[in-house]
């Protein structure tokens, strides 16, 4: 089974379901989600807690297997991939932004950003040199050698975004990217994410509870009780980019 990703293809789900547990303890998190996300736009997944947002984004990122349904990500049927092929696919094509940043605490900012490149086979020297350039582009040239514990929440999230983009992935998934930072910083973070989303061959999906960032979206999908309850295209209010990928 090939893991090559065809360009200019987005994300498509049909009849996607996901169950946790078995028997009486079974919980159905997704109940037949049908979804199409196109490249070149920023899609927000919103909805109340427990509606299946995180489950859906985990499946789209290839970190969780669906119970049933079809999932095509960037032209690849990820259900057909082995665990190893999924990992290879994620390494090459997916960039992650986590709610709690998930930076490795003992690595400097530059080293953290270099990790995806190292996973893709770069030497440490080359990977860190490349990472430094990306960090500069997100305004962290002064904090290249800082440990995560020496950075503010906003700076850590910038490092996390730089890490998500350093290997130029075609799919960017962000889980509550602004929930752990203040409003002003959250604004800047969303600008960065939107800048990536505007690339024509990239797909960007973000899960959020934060209604203040809705204005950055091209499209907002509302989930309720494991189903798509509402889907609307919106005109982004903010397009001022700060980020230029290396």
């Amino acid at each position: 089974m090939t893991t090559s990703i065809q360009t200019r293809k987005g994300v498509s789900c049909q009849g996607l379901t996901k169950d946790y547990g078995r028997g009486d303890a079974r919980v159905r998190a997704l109940r037949g989600v049908d979804l199409d996300i196109s490249p070149g736009e920023l899609t927000l997944l919103v909805g109340p807690s427990g509606c299946g947002k995180t489950t859906l984004i985990s499946i789209l990122a290839g970190t969780l297997d669906p119970t049933d349904g079809d999932v095509s990500v960037l032209g690849v049927d990820i259900k057909s991939l082995s665990k190893h092929e999924k990992a290879a696919c994620r390494a090459k094509n997916v960039g992650f932004v986590f709610q709690q940043f998930n930076l490795l605490p003992s690595l400097t900012a530059a080293e953290n950003v270099s990790v995806p490149l190292v996973i893709n086979g770069y030497s440490k020297t080359k990977a860190v040199a490349h990472a430094i350039e990306v960090l500069k582009s997100v305004g962290l040239s002064e904090r290249i050698h800082s440990l995560p514990s020496q950075l503010s929440g906003g700076q850590q999230q910038r490092v996390a975004i730089a890490r998500a983009l350093v290997h130029q992935p075609r799919l960017l998934v962000a889980d509550e990217p602004t929930s752990a930072i203040d409003a002003r910083t959250g604004h800047a973070i969303m600008e960065l994410i939107r800048e990536v989303a505007l690339q024509p061959d990239r797909v960007a999906v973000a899960v959020t509870h934060d209604s203040r960032v809705y204005g950055f979206a091209d499209r907002i999908i509302t989930l309720e009780d494991g189903r798509v309850a509402q889907e609307k295209h919106v005109k982004p209010e903010v397009t001022n980019g700060l980020f230029a990928p290396v």
């Binding site: 995180t54 984004i57 990122a61 986590f98 998930n102």
Partner: protein
Amino acid sequence: MTWIALKMLMGDKSKYFAIVFGVSFACFLIAEQSAIFCGVMLRTTSQIRDTHGGDIWVMNSDVRYVDDLKPISDDDLYRVRSVPGVAWAVNLYRGQGQAQLANGTYQGLILMGLDDASLTGAPTHMLVGKIGDLQIPDAILVDEAGFYQMWPGESLRTGKVIEMNQRRAVVVGVYRASQTFMTMPIIYTRFSQATLFVPPTPTGRLMPFVLAKVQPGMDSSDVAERIHDRTGLKALTNEGFMQLTMTYYLQHTGIPLNFGTTVVLAFLVGSAIAGQTFYLFTVENLKQFGTLNAMGMSDRRIVSMILIQGFVVGGIGYGVGVGLATLYGIFSQSAMPLLAFFLPWQVLAVTAVAMIFIVMMASLLSIRRVLVLEPAVVFQGGA
């Protein structure tokens, strides 16, 4: 990838030192207890090691260890001398005697009788007096520990007198002996003198050993085998006799069981400490491994990272633990001379094997936790 594993390992200094301490402590316990066991076993052979000059010990064929004294015929000395490959052979007395001190008390002792002419097998580390003075009538040499045992509080000197088998014996020298398994004084004298210091035996035989030297260029084991074939006596090289003695103590005393229990306990305690600290370290890093896995790092590389971390910690812990055990041995020899401590390479090898086992077990448990981790957990606010 290795550098990420090492940075993860050493990034949190307190955790890192806790793991290294755990492995070091485990290695120290195993090496130290094993070394004491080896030291105790080595002491059972100290009399053999302290008897210099000969290459082969010849004895009754039923002898099972160095203290198992079964006298052989005086003629056997000549029969051994006649075996091809033997350069020379001398008689050697070894037995237990009893001394009466000047204050009237009695003291059990080990009596060694050396060949009158050559004094072959005499101690080499004299503290007071000369070996040659054994040629003086009634002369004896006493080991340092034995001297203090018989005359506590007195400084080492010659001229002290004891009585054995109603015969006067005069101390003409004090020597330093290896620590023995028994705690009795070890007295050296001439063979002819030794036979007077003990009561006669029913058989009239008094010679338990013949010490033989092989001719230059000959193999000791070959000559020993030849002596056995020609005389029917048991003939063993120094190493062979030490092995026989240690084997007897291993098989017929509770020492291996008692020390084995201690060593196993040390291993279990050390394993628990080292294994648990390393396992907890990995569990605390699950979120990081989950993040790496989500970002596309393969299971195989994550397993490699954990093994690298385990073996780096194991290697450092092994070095520190064995180093501490060695220092303990060095300092204990001067501070506690009675402590038996011997650290041969076999103990280092056993400790290394134990360390590898501990690290492998801890790593495998940790790896299992990491491998069952769904990468999706990183989306749920932590792993």
